[in-house]
């Protein structure tokens, strides 16, 4: 029989389970075995001694031996155990990492082990903060004071109870012997450091959003359920099939190509910001940076899609096309993307604008698509919808891919970019520098500001983009039509 706390939960919170917790518990039980576990020492305080303290080096050495990994991996594993709350540091209790020196740690009591079966109650936190306040006024930190006031507001009806319970817990603690009291205080403090971290800290117990539906509950087999199953199986049968040798070959090829570019699998130059808290890597790879990194430029050679999806790559390509006087292809493609992903209110105007600029006879930036596609598109534009220009867009995309892309890769523009590309040195941080970095973590630019910068950039390029008058003139003269050159329409790209 499982005791589920759905009674007080009112079935409103289903948390995705963290499978790592059970595994961490097993490791922990192995670690504390007096014979085969980590060596325990005695912590000497001013008057008392408390047993069962571990040093960081012992923990790391034990983990390295148990799992046959190197010291750095063992250190990361140890830090995970500390971050989850199974081991807590005795000095520097706010930094949840394992240091490979003689700093002391201790196992957390099973009552305070992290568990997802029961949510961490705010009532308990309020009682803990009240207890600390009882012991000595003004001991709470700023974020704790804010939380305390917040809880006081929201739990006002229980406040008498909370204060009384805090006092009773304090008095009950006084019944225990002094070393036990110290140990219990450390345990409780460590528990709340893990579960109510100061703002701006990454918490290891962050599991994402609560679910609305209980994933553990069985699904009710109504006729609707069976109908869904039937539709699903029918669609599976109808799907086009590919030989597994082909698909596996494609996967292998993809992995081989992207292996060096994956920050998980290989080194991220100059250093992975998540590991070293140094954001040079992100700054060097901003969407609109002047000089891209060598790895980024190399990615553009993998496929045309990669080139277009990278904003810097697209800029480079646009520059090349401008030199070749075939910029209208890319402009048309971008306009179609904008139509597809843009707001529904302006769709009709956008479609008309695109027609006038790119598709109509004698348009300023006329694109070269075959007759059949043009017929389909023009017919579709009578009743425009989001995907009306899909056929034309695909045609232009394939044209650019087969023709311009190859020439781009051999062009001087690309070669120049490749030559100027930055190849940053790998950072080699010492432990002291890593700590310094961790202390100086700052939040990055707000996405709102980034989006504003992007929009400004786009407006600037739109204003400065010349209309391909030479292109228009050459086409007109080829068709030997006697037409006035149209005045260049502003906002030509329709974005």
């Amino acid at each position: 029989m499982t005791i589920r706390n759905t009674l007080l939960d009112h079935g409103q919170r289903f948390r995705p389970r963290m499978a790592c917790l059970k595994k961490a518990e097993k490791v922990l039980l192995e670690m504390q075995d007096p014979k085969t576990g980590v060596k325990s020492q005695i912590q000497r305080l001013v008057i008392t001694t408390i047993p069962h303290a571990l040093t960081g080096e012992d923990i790391i050495a034990w983990l390295a031996e148990r799992f046959h990994v190197d010291a750095q991996e063992a250190r990361h594993l140890g830090s995970t155990l500390v971050a989850l709350g199974y081991i807590y540091p005795l000095q520097h209790h706010k930094r949840l990492i394992v240091k490979a020196d003689a700093s002391l740690y201790r196992f957390q009591t099973p009552y305070f082990w992290p568990t997802q079966q029961w949510p961490v109650e705010d009532t308990d936190y309020a009682i803990y903060l009240a207890k600390r306040n009882i012991r000595k006024k003004g001991m709470l930190e700023l974020h704790e004071q804010e939380q305390y006031s917040h809880l006081h507001k929201w739990m006002n009806h229980k406040w008498d109870f909370i204060v009384m319970q805090a006092k009773e817990q304090y008095r009950a603690a006084k019944e225990r012997k002094k070393p036990d009291r110290v140990v219990f205080d450390c345990q409780e403090r460590a528990y709340w450091v893990v579960h109510r971290p100061p703002p701006g800290t990454v918490s290891a117990m962050d599991y994402g959003l609560n679910r609305r539906v209980d994933p553990g509950a069985d699904e009710v087999t109504t006729p609707d359920f069976f109908e869904r199953i039937m539709i699903f199986t029918q669609q599976s049968i109808m799907r086009p099939r590919v030989k597994s040798s082909v698909s596996i070959g494609a996967l292998v090829k993809h992995c081989a190509i992207y292996h060096g570019h994956d920050p998980f699998l290989s080194k991220c130059l100059p250093s992975n910001p998540w590991l070293t808290d140094d954001v040079t890597s992100w700054n060097l790879n901003m969407p609109n940076v002047e000089t891209p990194t060598k790895m980024r430029v190399e990615r553009w050679t993998f496929s045309f899609g990669e080139l277009l999806s990278d904003p810097r790559g697209r800029d480079d390509f646009r520059l090349f096309l401008r030199k070749e006087f075939s910029g209208e292809n890319l402009a048309f493609w971008e306009a179609c993307e904008d139509l597809k992903w843009g707001a529904a209110a302006t769709m009709r105007e956008k479609a008309e604008q695109i027609y006038k600029t790119f598709l109509a006879r004698g348009a300023p930036r006329w694109i070269n698509i075959d007759g059949k596609t043009m017929e389909i598109t023009v017919n579709g534009l009578k009743h425009p919808h989001r995907y009306v220009l899909d056929a034309a867009q695909t045609h232009i995309y394939m044209l650019m891919k087969k023709d311009s892309y190859g020439r781009y890769l051999k062009s001087p523009v690309f070669k120049e970019t490749l030559r100027k590309a930055a190849c940053p040195e790998e950072h080699k941080f010492t432990d002291a520098q890593l700590e310094h970095n961790a202390r100086n973590r700052r939040p990055s630019l707000s996405p709102i500001i980034l989006r504003q910068q992007e929009q400004e950039q786009r407006a600037r390029t739109a204003a400065s983009a010349p209309v391909d008058i030479t292109q228009v003139m050459s086409r007109l003269s080829r068709r030997s039509k006697d037409a006035e050159p149209r005045p260049a329409a502003q906002g030509v790209r329709g974005t």
Partner: protein, 259 residues
């Protein structure tokens, strides 16, 4: 004049006052027992875990349950009474909120203890986590059971098969408590969020001098935290020295002057 008014007071309200006082006493003792249960629960799985701790937990739990049943009857009977004056109803509602919150805490603690029993079963010294605890739990249990005599708590024969029985009994008790909480929600109509507490925001310090464990904790803290304390003590020492020097100077001046 007030004395006459007191004598003329209705016996009904006097009994209600007594009921309030009784209820308050019961709720206070329940809060105390729940606090002790939490302390005992935090020892489970540690090096002091054993049959004795489990027995202490069982006794504390039983005491809490008897108290809970008593309070439940007491409060429901008075809260369902429609003739209760407004003032007393408010007090009763406060007691009700305290009672239901204690029950929730107790329920959560019992569930956690049940879970831990599943992990650390059977209890033998090899699979217990070394958390650094050394002392026993008997003092806390004595406080919970309000036993003035500690020896009474210690000398008990712990029968065999205690663990398994406790395991199944705990399961049963958790569901009983759950039902009680459910019943309470449905039977008594107390609007919790309208209840106004007595106390202010910050819990008043019990005694500012008993910061002994605090001192032990702060010994291990990082260096920067000790600096302000050190500077203060340096200032005091300096001031003392200055005072001593001043006194010596005046004394010598007097000696010179008067000799």
């Amino acid at each position: 004049m007030p004395l006459i008014i007191n004598r003329v007071r209705d016996e009904h309200t006097v009994s209600k006052d007594k009921a309030l006082v009784d209820g308050k006493a019961l709720v206070d003792s329940l809060i105390k027992v729940v606090a002790c249960y939490r302390h005992l629960a935090s020892c489970v799985g540690g090096p002091t875990d054993g049959l004795k701790l489990r027995d202490d937990l069982r006794q504390t739990r039983e005491k809490a349950q008897t108290l809970a049943v008593a309070i439940c009857h007491h409060l429901t009977s008075y809260l369902r009474d429609r003739s209760l004056p407004e003032e007393q109803r408010r007090e009763m509602a406060l007691l009700w909120v305290a009672f239901s919150s204690s029950l929730e805490l107790l329920h959560a603690d019992m569930c956690k203890v049940f879970n831990m029993y599943n992990v650390f079963f059977p209890v033998n010294s090899s699979n217990l986590v070394q958390t650094g605890l050394q002392g026993g739990s008997s003092e806390v249990a004595a406080r919970a059971l309000s036993l003035p005599d500690l020896t009474q708590a210690q000398t008990r024969n712990l029968p065999a098969g205690l663990e398994r029985r406790e395991h199944s009994a705990l399961e049963l008790e958790i569901s009983t408590l759950g039902h009680m909480i459910d019943d309470m929600e449905t039977k008594v109509n107390v609007l919790r969020w309208m209840v106004e507490p007595h106390g202010g925001q910050y819990a008043d310090p019990i005694s500012s001098t008993n910061s002994a464990s605090l001192a032990l904790l702060s010994v291990d803290e990082e260096q920067p935290r000790r600096q302000p304390l050190r500077r203060r003590s340096y200032m005091i020492v300096l001031l003392l020295l200055l005072a001593v020097v001043l006194v010596a100077a005046t004394l010598s001046v007097c000696v010179v002057f008067f000799s």
